[in-house]
Amino acid sequence: MEKGTSIHDYDWWLLTTTLAICGVGVLEIWSATRASHLAGMHTHQIEWIGLGLVLMLLLSRLDYHTIMDQAPLLYLIAIIALIAVLAVGHKQFGAKRWLSVLGQQLQVSELVKLIIIVVLARFFSEVRTEQLGLADMMKAAGVVGLPLALIMLQPDLGTAMVLVPLVAVGAFLAGLQWKHALAILVLAGVMVPVGYHFLKPYQRERVTTFLRPEEDPRGAGYQILQSKIAVGSGGFWGKGLGNGSQNQLGFVPVRYSDFILAALAEEIGFAGVFVALLLYMFLLLRLVQNAQRAHDRAGMFLVMGVTAVLGFHVLVNVAMVIGFMPVTGIPLPLMSYGGSATLFVFLALGLVMNVRIRRFVN
């Protein structure tokens, strides 16, 4: 054991909550796929979770200050990986997002998210003024802007969007001035129509579909409508595990992944959703508490970076499932099936644990 840290310093509540969410996810993956050719995929998910736990533990042992010292190098690796994926990446579903690493398809943007959390934490912790200056803001925007542009080129709008709240939360905690915040909001408001112009056709379709889903129920609005039907028809107690016709008969798209909460809502109803969302709330609040108790600003920024990313994932995914937001392809952390996404969350939680166990270190 490293000096000054002990097994008791780990956040066991956080870990318990995390595993509870994973458990619900595995259960629903099993239920949603058991009667189809996809049956058995929940065991893969368990394997990812196991691997994630190991990686989390390993990452927590490596002092986060040491990691943050390597921020420039990590940033360089991230940029190279993003360029590599564009050049030689494996194309799937019309987008280049995967790189082969040790025979496994790795979603590069997940790794990049992790690196950007570290890079931004270092950046903001080095701002020593009470209030965040305009120059610092521009620098932060530049640091995030390059990888964001590269991710947009894949194209992966969802992951690119995640970087925005990451900067926003960081800037907010670094002392963003209200007048600046207001100015950015106004600027963003102006940029939205311009940005829409640069969207890919399928992305535009998703936006229009979101705004008017009933116009084309079998086309692009189909996914949202079917998801809402699944959720709504679940009622309070749900139709029972394995009995959700909407997900079992394939009306709900990717019911084991992005739309897993729709499948869950259909099969175990509002009661199940209530428990799941409370678990997420507890997880996020626990993260904030860890930030509040961090040893230094660097640790606090690191934890809040993770909080921002996970919170944004939960918000966008759940809002999509109930038709509050368009389809973006952002998975639900810890529940949706997927190796890269699961490993990312555990590595991110590894950073949090890292900060946690060093909170009393001088």
Binding site: G232, Q246, F251, A265, F270, V273, I322, G323
Partner: protein, 614 residues
Amino acid sequence: MNDKRLPQERLAVTSYVIVGMILLLLSGFWKLQIIDSDKYAQMAERNRVRSIPIIAPRGTMLDREGRVLVDNYPSFSVLLLRDSPSQVDKLLPQIADGLGMTLDDIKQEIEAANAMPKFQPIIIKPQASPSDIAFIESHRADIPVLEMLMVHRRRYPHGDMLANAVGYVGEVSAEQVEASDSKLKPGDIVGKAGLERQYNGTLMGTDGMRRVIVNSIGKEVGRLEQQEAIPGKPIQLTIDYDLQNIADTYMANKEGAVVAMDGRTGEILAMVSRPTFNPNDFAIRIPSAEWQALNSDDRTPLLNRAIQGQLAPGSVFKIVMSTAMLESKDLPENFTAFCPGHATFYGRTFHCWRPEGHGTVDLHKAIVDSCDVFFYTIGQRLGIDKIHEYATGLGLGRRTGVDLPSEEAGLIPSEEWVQRVYHHKWYAGETISVAIGQGAVTVTPIQLARMIAAVSNGGTLVQPHLLKNLTPKPDRFPLADDTVEQVTQGMYGVINEGGTGSSLKLQNIEFSGKSGTAQLMSYEAGSHMGKKGKETNGWFVGYAPRRNPEIVVAAVIQGSSEHGGTTAGPVVRDLVKAYYEKKNGLTPQQYTAKNEPGSVPRASGNDPSLDPPH
């Protein structure tokens, strides 16, 4: 020890944001899962379950001996499932191509069904050909919106035989659906005319429903409980196929009507109306051009002349006059008139059909020879209202109550009628024409059959009917036995004492009757229209035996220039003869082979060994 420079306030704000976010999301679930739950549950059910109707076959129609007159044959229609309009739109060109239809045709079908709920499939092609079936089967995976529907198509195996009485079926109209108290739904096949319409409630079954579970690409993955179709009930008719066949054969290429009826019960044994139509043409879906043609045809093939043809009865009306004369006692029983071939009433000369005259005639001779002058005289003595009273009493000018839709009443003029319709007084001269069944008088063939039966049975007006197990409600217009005896003796004489129907004589059968030849228009009008000679309606109403007839046949041949006894008489005779032959146990082959007049008829009771046990 916490770093003093940590922005604790702003961190606290993020906590509140997190709680707010979760509450917002939960409210979204509350709305969907608690408030709108029923709506989405229905939508999920509609996604999951595909309902395909199971069409109930219509009941068949049998003749009185159980021979099939109308039945069904299995066939396939093409169903379009419309629950996903955009998918349907995308597939339409492919569907049109595969089914050999134009895109516009299909769009029209879809348009027509716009008011129906989207989850109800519609028929886009009523009659699927083998290649259509092959197309649908081979494209199950990529065109999941098509489905085959087994239907029971109406079949009229004897073509146009009995068509006007049987009627036809067709797709229910929007008005009918509305009036049906949701018993009918768009696309249902219902009886549109004749017996098909009259007994639609019995004939039509209740469609069932096959409910299957489908996945998101429309593939069937399971079955739910099936609601079986309840087939319609068959009905047995009073029609005798053999007699119908005889009447039908005789009437081929003629214009007119024949109705044969059991004089005791009102059971209709045969009913023909010509020209006619083939109801099989309606069984699929009649092309609108064909429908237009049938409807606008001057020869009115859709009209059932036996119950809807309102024609001048001509001399058959003299039976009403004779009955009125005897019953009213306004004239002495042995009243005679002298016929020089014409007579003058109210300053106008009326001709007898026999220019050389009949000499002195009494009632019997007047009926046998159909002397017009005798009946002119009686008509003048009785007056129009007396004539109206007896004609109406004997069922003319009012519906017989036959179990067919749209029966016509005909018209028996009266002083009241002329006042009401024409607002002037009755011209006494008109009575003279009415007395020989001309002028404003119109009747239907079925009314004449019923009237003759009533006169010969003492005044029982049967309810003519086609449904075997209908309990008829007869009407009474009591006649004195002496009246019945005198009038029926006259009608017996028409055939058996050298009267107007003497060529129709049947051995050993008390075949009696009365001919009529009604002028359609005057000589002058006829020549104006370039017609040669007289256009007439030739009537013959015959029956047997003389009193309490078992069979009464009324026949009318329209547009012939010949005498009723010659044009209409033979079919009446043939039917009466066939009736007795059948009654005496001869098989249809035997008597149809011996169709020539004068062959050996057998009156009932003549040879007990030939009588079938009753």
